[in-house]
């Protein structure tokens, strides 16, 4: 089986935080202890939605040293493919679910002299665990958190009451905006910046930091991409000798799995590189959406990340 090792858990608590975000708590069904993790790690949650198995990554937001329970916060996406809606509507306290071991693609660089966190909306979740980790280590950190409005500001109260000096909150509906140039200018040498939020915010931070002479190694970002729907297409899997159809609302990776072909994956969000697949032949156009491959690799037509990328055209033959 591909992916990280699995853990069977029971849903022990469900707390709606606001109109969009609900928090879920998981405890091991066998009564044992969960693995510790590092701040920024995520778990892949398996959802049995009728005939469809959904596998969505969510950042762990609980204390990384707390082995009794994991918590995640799920933002409801009414336009999405249904994973977050399933979590909001179908999951009840007492349900058994399967989650993966924690996987961290957004870890702290502990060589940093200071950690500067920039969060947009639900992008706050990995920082909640990182803050707990740094508080334990006595780390130097600062959080700048942009939310749409006070009512949608998940965990603002907790953050501002526990960490009033480190937490800075910006509300879109009050026209408050992170003054990024000013914030980056004058940070002490050895500061690392971490950004988690919408794609536009990540691009803005990466481009501004680069222009200001920040080393690439000191700029960390995480954006989970949900696979986007698209036109159905046909794929030939050369190794398994199967021709499969990828439906409008499923990803290429999900279609491969549905056909019983074991394909590697970890994040399912275009970030980790695990599912990289070699293209043997194609006639048509790739719709690359991942953060993993370089631009020249996207242009080469030799590789695809089936978790988020799609294809439009006549033939696609994969080495799988």
């Amino acid at each position: 089986m591909s992916g990280a090792e699995k853990i069977v858990v029971t849903v022990t608590d469900i707390v709606p935080l606001n109109d969009l975000v609900t928090r879920f708590e998981f405890k091991p069904t066998d009564g044992g202890l969960l693995p510790t993790f590092s701040g920024g790690a995520h778990t892949v949650v398996e959802m049995q939605d009728g005939d469809i198995t959904r596998l969505n990554p969510y950042s762990l937001m609980s204390d990384p040293m707390d082995q009794t329970a994991y918590t995640i916060s799920v933002r409801r996406d009414d336009e999405g493919r249904g994973g977050s809606l399933f979590m909001h509507r179908n999951v009840k306290v007492g349900d058994k679910m399967t989650i993966s071991y924690p996987v961290n693609l957004f870890s702290l660089d502990l060589r940093a002299k200071k950690h500067l966190f920039l969060a947009g909306g639900i992008g706050i979740t990995p920082f909640l665990a990182q803050i707990k980790q740094l508080e334990r280590l006595g780390g130097n950190w600062e959080l700048h958190y942009a939310c749409r409005s006070e009512s949608l500001g998940s965990y603002v109260d907790e953050l501002t009451s526990h960490h009033p000096n480190e937490t800075h909150v910006y509300y879109d509906d009050h026209d408050q905006k992170i003054d990024l140039m000013n914030l980056l200018d004058g940070q002490p040498l050895g500061t690392h910046v971490y950004v988690c939020g919408p794609k536009g915010m990540i691009d803005w931070v990466r481009q501004t930091a680069e222009a200001e002479g920040w080393p690439r190694e000191a700029v960390h970002y995480e954006e989970f991409l949900a696979p986007q729907p698209g036109k159905p297409f046909e794929v030939k899997l050369a190794v398994s000798n199967k021709v499969i159809q990828v439906g409008e609302n499923e990803s290429l990776l999900e279609a491969i799995e549905r056909e019983g072909v074991d394909a590697p994956y970890l994040c399912r969000g275009g970030a980790c590189g695990q599912c990289e697949t070699r293209v043997i032949d194609y006639t048509g156009n790739f719709i690359h959406r991942d953060h993993w491959l370089e631009d020249d690799e996207h242009a080469s037509g030799e590789k695809i990340m089936p978790c988020v990328s799609r294809f439009e055209g006549k033939t696609l033959v994969l080495d799988r």
Binding site: R111, A112, K113, L184, D185, G186, Q187, P188, L189, G190, T191, E210, A211, E212, G213, W214, P215, R216, E217, A218
Partner: protein, 198 residues
């Protein structure tokens, strides 16, 4: 000619590039001896307006040319040891956006790289260019003493007196190559010393 092409070696051995101007809020140059040439070749008025040079001449005669670049600050010291306090203070006060350029001998580059890394600059973000002497800073793996400016292989440890073989294994933490006793099994059987790259 102050440039030397090092032969291909193991992964542990540092490789050096060529200094090039990068966007930044300030530019720190740490150099010794012929490293001055690399600074002179890449310097622009815009870089030097925010440029700070810490220079160890080691008997060379480039100081007037470096001063003529008109950097925001210039310091010349007699040795790396003498400049070390200033290097640490400069890095401790520095802000993100600082670009670090190191050029000259391997010993200077290695020690300054170590200081910059400790101050929080990722080692891959530090620019380096080798110029001048190919002598190495060596650590004796037996007594742990450092011998500077080693030009021959084997050489005699300046601390414990063992005959040491010059290896390409390098430590970023120590900013030194590893020297290992060459006649441990047959004391006195020591090959004639020759230049490291001969």
């Amino acid at each position: 000619m102050s440039k030397f092409t090092f032969p291909e070696s193991i992964r542990s051995r540092p490789v050096y590039g060529m200094l090039e101007p990068r966007a930044g809020s300030a530019h720190l140059f740490i150099a010794d001896a012929e490293g001055a040439e690399a600074i002179i070749e890449m310097a622009t008025p815009a870089i030097m307006a925010k440029g700070h040079i810490i220079y160890i001449a080691k008997g060379t005669d480039y100081e007037a040319q470096l001063r003529a670049l008109n950097p925001a600050s210039f310091y010349a010291g007699p040795s790396y040891g003498a400049a070390e306090q200033r290097i640490h203070k400069t890095l401790a006060d520095a802000k993100m956006g600082l670009q670090v350029y190191l050029t000259g001998t391997e010993g200077l580059i290695g020690q300054a790289q170590n200081a910059a890394m400790q101050a929080g600059v990722p080692h891959t973000a530090i620019q380096t260019e080798h110029r001048g002497s190919t002598a190495r800073r060596m650590q004796c793996v037996h007594c742990k003493g450092i011998t500077e400016d080693v030009e021959t292989d084997p050489f005699i440890c300046g601390h414990c007196g063992l005959n040491l073989f010059v290896r390409d294994h390098y430590s970023r933490r120590l900013a030194a190559y590893q020297g290992v006793c060459i006649d441990a099994e047959d004391p006195g059987n020591v090959p004639a010393p020759k230049g490291i790259y001969e």
